[in-house]
Amino acid sequence: MLEGLFAFLFQFGDAFAFLVLSASGLAIIFGMMGVINLAHGEFIMCGAYVTVTAAHAGLPLPLAIACGSLAAGIIGIALERAIINRLFDRPLDTIVATWGISLIATQGTLILLGSTMPGVGTPLGSFEMGSYSFSEYRVVLMVIAVAMMGGLYLLFHRTRYGILARATIQVPHMASALGVNTKVMHSLTFGLGAALAGLAGGLYAPTMTLVPTMGTAFIVESFVTVVVGGADVFLGTAPAAVVLAFIKAGMTSLYGQLFGLIGLLLTVIVVIRIMPRGLSGWLLRGRE
């Protein structure tokens, strides 16, 4: 009984970590900034590739993951400067632009680096619980997911950058009139979103097959989480991930992977129907 409960909690935590880590970058870029970023998966892929390359070059894995995240962030800032900043008021055009970026990134990686890349292997070992055994690295991922949510909350609510960034996104002309360099804020925030995507790639790189199209494995879950969560990164993404992880883990353990996916998609449909502005819109109702 206890063993079964732990097993379910582990699966719930595992699904939660995957949803939070893969969605937080998108929550900033899409949820906050309103850029429908179809290249989100490619930022993740970039983070994973840089991480593995750095690890092969001899860096310890945590440092390599930091490199992956940083690389994705820098590329994010560069793309924002070159392309995205012209499209802030045109959300539909961002779809086309970011989709183009995503195609260039996957095909470019395929041409330059080939169809696949050797992995690095999952660090840490496994532990046993009754008749089950679990990967320790998965527990690390859960801890990082929770820590990241906390860190982002502090960043956006307790630092000068966070307040300026939120001001820039909510009322750009007012922020600008008060002397905030909104261009820099946009670039930094977009870069932060890209870096978080890169971090997700780096963290999951040891557990996955490295191919140019690996970003697609994250894209459905991340969009589902952000759409269910709504515009607020913390009051949206975190509760959305809790709800979705519960549904996914439950359905998968009862009926298999296919029903886990069906459960996710059904939840989106129901949530959008009842709460058009997502969970955070509902939680914050009447505040605006």
Binding site: Q11, F18, S126, S133, T207
Partner: protein, 419 residues
């Protein structure tokens, strides 16, 4: 997503149509004598399956280069018409129409996944063209237009499943990709386990593209099988092995698709694939003079090839089988080529060993290697079965030498109608 994919398809279709137009104009200008034999190659060079299928293009190129150097087929050179269907079934259908209609190829080699094969087969039938499907698959296609030269379940599972059960125990769990290949292969496993007095303790079908397997691993641990059959397809699903190893699953695994196609033992860090057993008709590590020579020639032409896999070898052998049949027929006409096949003498000394086409089902005989992956991902081959015939379709009642063409795919639970 669908709208966008479609948009891309249209643009690319327009572009490729332009290219095809130019190609058509240039062939028309050629003289009739010594006109090249045009072989269409639709194999994925990008997308989900590319890691395992780029070698199919290279295999065809190597075979064509060798045959051309030796004077061609019937004195005519081979010209390859190559497109990239990008692991996308709709693109397969567009390109199949183009290659048969506009490019007028004499034969077409196409497809990795069974979904792509079933997507193009109606088009092949509509144009009454000759189609070589060189991939291993779940078996059962009885179609006069199709020559299926890859290994089938009676070659891969009738050998592997009893061997695994004898070695490790009778309780079997299957996880399989959720489409025709996985479903029908799982049916074969189920039947063989029953026939050999074993017990199925679990079965799960997993949608293509799924990459997170924590729960699946836990379900397997709960059932505690002796043998785990993994019929997973594509790079996303291949993540299972890494995740199973890090959760210390430690159950002997059997498969008809891994290692030989996706060379996971090279791509993943040990011990992810440790304990994997695969029945393959070729892998690069096969240590025979013919295989070593083949690897050398391949690397001379493609020095950067990561791994020469079974699909690559099959594609190479497929071109030679076609060349042999055309030489015997004296023409590229489909009826004549099929008549040559029906003599039962269309055989090739392939890198794997001798391969012959069975007249009744138009499938190929194979040498099957039982490949075992060690703790450090080293390869051993504890057993070899030579010259296994693709007998099931013929025994079940598919006979393409008679003047009938069912254009169907049969399975053990859906055999050909009794005569």
């Amino acid at each position: 997503m669908n709208v966008m994919t479609h948009l891309g398809t249209t643009t690319r279709a327009l572009l490729a149509a332009g290219v095809a137009g130019i190609a058509l104009a240039s062939t028309a200008a050629l003289a009739q004598d010594g006109e090249p034999i045009r072989i269409g190659i639709l194999e994925d060079q990008s997308g989900e399956f590319a890691a395992a299928t780029i070698q199919k293009v290279h295999g065809a190129q190597l075979a064509a280069a060798e045959i051309n150097e030796a004077g061609g087929i019937l004195g005519r050179p081979i010209e390859l018409v190559i497109y990239d269907p990008q692991s996308d079934n709709r693109r397969y259908q567009e390109l199949m129409r183009r290659i048969l209609q506009r490019d007028q190829v004499d034969v077409v080699f196409a497809g990795f996944s069974s979904a792509s094969r079933e997507a193009v087969r109606p088009i092949v039938n509509q144009f009454d063209a000759l189609y070589f499907y060189t991939n291993q698959y779940e078996g059962g296609v009885c179609d006069a237009n199709v020559v299926a030269t890859g290994a089938v379940p009676e070659q891969q599972f009738s050998t592997l499943v009893p061997w695994m059960m004898e070695q490790y125990g009778p309780r079997v769990y299957t996880i399989a990709a959720d489409y025709n290949f996985g479903q029908i292969s799982a049916e074969w496993v189920r039947q063989l386990v029953e026939e050999n007095g074993g017990e199925m303790v679990g079965e799960e079908f997993i949608p293509l593209g799924v990459s997170q397997f924590s729960q699946t691993i836990q379900n397997i641990q709960e059932a505690d099988p002796d043998v785990l059959m993994t019929l997973l397809v594509g790079t996303a699903q291949a993540s299972f092995y890494e995740q199973a190893a890090s959760a210390n699953l430690g159950i002997p695994m059997g498969s008809s698709v891994n290692v030989a196609q996706g060379y996971e033992h090279r791509r993943f860090d040990p011990p992810a694939l440790s304990g994997m057993h695969v029945t393959a008709n070729y892998i690069e590590e096969v240590d025979t003079p013919a295989s070593r020579d083949f690897v050398e020639r391949w690397r001379a032409m493609f020095p950067d090839e990561v791994y020469i896999n079974q699909p690559g070898q099959n594609s190479y052998v497929g071109i030679y089988l076609y060349a042999t049949a055309v030489e015997m027929a004296g023409s590229t006409d489909m009826a004549a080529v099929r008549e040559a096949i029906q003599t039962g003498d269309v055989c090739v000394d392939a890198p794997e060993g001798r391969v012959c086409i069975d007249p009744a089902s138009q499938h190929a005989s194979h040498t099957i290697y039982l490949v075992e992956v060690g703790e450090d991902h080293s390869i051993t081959i504890p057993q070899v079965w030579e010259n296994i015939e693709p007998y099931w379709l013929g025994e079940a009642g598919c006979d393409l030498t008679l003047d009938e063409d069912p254009d169907a795919q049969y399975t053990p639970s859906n055999p050909p109608p009794a005569r």
